[in-house]
Symmetry: C2
Subunit: 118 residues, 2 copies
DNA sequence: CCGAATCCTAGAAGATACTG
DNA sequence: CAGTATCTTCTAGGATTCGG
């Protein structure tokens, strides 16, 4: 896999290199959800960024969008199979981050105070 | 873990939410390396972004920087223990991306052509 | 209720020149 | 060799307004 790093990291950044994608994937991991509920759960995301991020996820085949034939219209979003396996993979990073929160915090504090002295 | 998503995703984006961090971590995963070699291997990164990204990694305790007492000075960068466990976690996403490249590509093509029609 | 369109600003990132 | 400093460009993302 070594030789594919550049291309793969570019692809990954294209997938989740923005501010909200990861949060939305995790939120949708709790179940299919409508636009407004998603907006509440992923607060403080703006409508614009919610729409924009959802379009990106849809484009990558990670999220399925279905318009319910009601009035007023309701739109439901759900992870696809691809989205679910992605969530599983992403959970590993999430768990790592949780497990190492204190060490990360300590490293930052140490680095910052050392820099302040200089 | 569910309730920690917002905070964790923010933390993750702080760690690897920029353009070059992931690539550098992967590159350093192949072994300790000097500035110039790193710059070559992570091409086309600029000196500025290389320095800046390395400082960030150092700050997070993921990379160790050591100045060799030679003339001209040589500086070697290496993953710390924390950096290595992070790399392991990140590899899962990397592998997922590799395994699903075709499906991702197909989803994008399909989405884009559907949009073009409209 | 869901989302498109527009405007605007902060910060990311590239290019270039210079230093111990 | 390994940076720092400055300048410019570009784009992500927030605020707001409007439409079906």
């Amino acid at each position: 896999m070594q030789d594919d790093f550049p291309a793969l990291t570019l692809e990954i950044m294209d997938l989740v290199g923005d501010k909200w994608t990861l949060l939305l994937v995790y939120t949708l991991g709790e179940g299919a959800m409508r636009f407004s509920e998603l907006k509440r759960r992923a607060s403080p995301i703006s409508q614009k960024m919610l729409t924009q991020t959802l379009r990106g996820l849809e484009r990558h085949g990670m999220v399925d969008r279905s318009v319910l034939p009601t009035a007023p219209p309701q739109v439901e979003y759900a992870l696809t199979g691809l989205g679910r396996t992605f969530l599983s993979a992403a959970s590993v990073i999430c768990q790592w981050t949780k497990d190492n929160l204190e060490e990360l915090q300590a490293a930052r504090t140490h680095f910052d105070s050392a820099r302040l002295a200089a």
